[in-house]
Symmetry: C2
Subunit: 305 residues, 2 copies
């Protein structure tokens, strides 16, 4: 199964294979639950293997393979972005932040392990992600070493105060306040879009994408990064907690600005469709090699939970 | 002023110069307080510039210069370890962890900015540290790139669940319980010793130390890493809050196992002296090039606050 799969069922099987490769690599990348000190490893694994859809690592692998890279070389980056995503969820769910009791249908980390261990489990996942990124085999050639550094720098930037962390700060600060459409877009480009976009771009850089293809993939990445959040807001407003696996309607009850509260549900849906068209158009120059990335964009916009 | 300074006042001036270089590099490495979103940059700078003694970056610079490296190439690593140290203090002080109100004589981050921003400020410092480590100028040659990766991997390992984070977990879990001398040493080798030792070793690796010198410096690093914590425990038991800049006697009131509670104050002092002798003996093969590292070991063991 390769990135040039053509039929819908081939594509679905190819995505399933990328997910399975991610699961196996994550399993191997972490100390076992029995490693000292056990509590932290139990907490790390509890959240990392809580049934996440692995969208970010799959984007890394699909982007890297679209430009011709081998999967093995992409897997440490794929694991790192999933660890970073999981750290951000654990910290966002804390009582001092969004105070969420449910995540992916299961009690959140701090509900199970207490706040102290939840904070440290997030810290551990972020640290482990960077440890993976900087652990390059001595036998790796210079080109690979430099690509790994460039991809890592991109991911680090996306996680910083101009990305993931900045977006969460803005999210906290805008709670209960009216923010306009431009501020809402800035918030989500930082909080969700930056890391999603970095997955695609870092995968492409690690895979050795030429500049024109990197540019196409960056356009694709920006569009799906934002689409993801628009769809999230639509789902929060329309689905129930059981399907969502987390507390539904929470945005409205917290008076959070969302694409639905700012633009209304129909316009939010239309925005997601428009972003999907942008994403697909950006992939055109890659032709059939981008089949999986096309399917992933559709999966993100057309998902139901 | 170089690492070969010989008189006591030369040594003191050389250490002051390393501190000043660190301050300037830290200042330049972070976004200004006015960068979006301002709150997080204010919180990050509040803790990073709260009057820390910069022991870890000074160790990086002194170790790197002892093996002949230029200061400029060592500064990103020096800044990174101080950011990591500061992140760990912010998170350790949180209400869910050690619940400390004072740090270096000032209110802790969560007292000033609230818990959510304090958690995110810690996350931001950890992220920024790794961003610095993986940001290698394109003009850097292959040897330097590989050394940077090796040094970064060492630092990442020291921050992980086998180091900094594991030590904090063990510290939380041993509160109010009796632990023996072996467990106490395991705790502090992880919580304090691992990062201190990584500073010396990573500085030496980045500086291109040959294997025998790296081995000497590793022995030195292990001894001062542990000595630091023994002295900390002695100070907590003997100094008052004003000199200490943080809540004194807190270990005893929290029924924490410390070198003082396990071994008694006289034996703890003797241990610190013994570790100092080990550290100085380990430096012997480096001769006069290790003058600053010798002075730093004395500074760590003979400090009063």
């Amino acid at each position: 199964m390769t990135a040039t799969a053509t039929t819908a069922s081939d594509t679905a099987a190819a995505i399933a294979a990328l997910r399975a490769a991610t699961e196996a690599a994550l399993e191997a990348a972490l100390p076992p639950e029995t490693a000292w000190p056990e509590t932290i490893h139990r907490a790390v694994r509890y959240s990392l293997f809580a049934g996440g859809k692995r969208i970010r690592p799959v984007l890394v692998l699909a982007a890297g393979e679209a430009v011709g890279a081998e999967r093995t070389g992409l897997l440490p980056l794929a694991c790192a972005v999933e660890m970073i995503h999981t750290y951000s969820l654990i910290h966002d769910d804390l009582p001092a932040m969004d105070d969420d009791d449910l995540r992916r249908g299961k009690p959140t980390s701090h509900k199970v392990f207490g706040e102290a261990i939840a904070i440290l489990a997030g810290d551990a996942l972020l640290t482990h992600a960077f440890q993976l990124l900087v652990s390059v085999p001595a036998a790796a050639d210079e080109t690979l070493v430099r690509r790994r550094l460039a991809a890592s720098a991109l991911v680090a930037e996306a996680c910083g105060t101009g990305g993931l962390i900045g977006g969460q700060v803005m999210d906290l600060e805008s709670e209960g306040r009216v923010i306009d459409a431009a501020a809402l877009e800035q918030l989500h480009r930082a909080k969700t879009g930056a890391l999603l976009a970095a997955c695609v771009r870092a995968g492409a850089i690690l895979g050795g994408a030429p500049p024109d293809e990197l540019q196409s993939l960056s356009r694709y990445a920006a569009a799906i990064g934002l689409a993801f959040q628009v769809v999230d807001d639509v789902l929060d407003a329309t689905e129930n907690a059981e399907r969502l696996g987390k507390t539904a309607g929470k945005d409205a009850s917290a008076h959070k600005a969302t694409y639905v509260s700012v633009h209304g549900i129909e316009r939010a849906r239309a925005m997601a469709e428009g972003l999907l068209r942008d994403a697909l158009a950006a992939l055109a120059p890659l032709g059939q090699r981008a089949a999986l990335l096309q399917a992933l964009a559709r999966l993100i916009v057309e998902r139901h939970s």
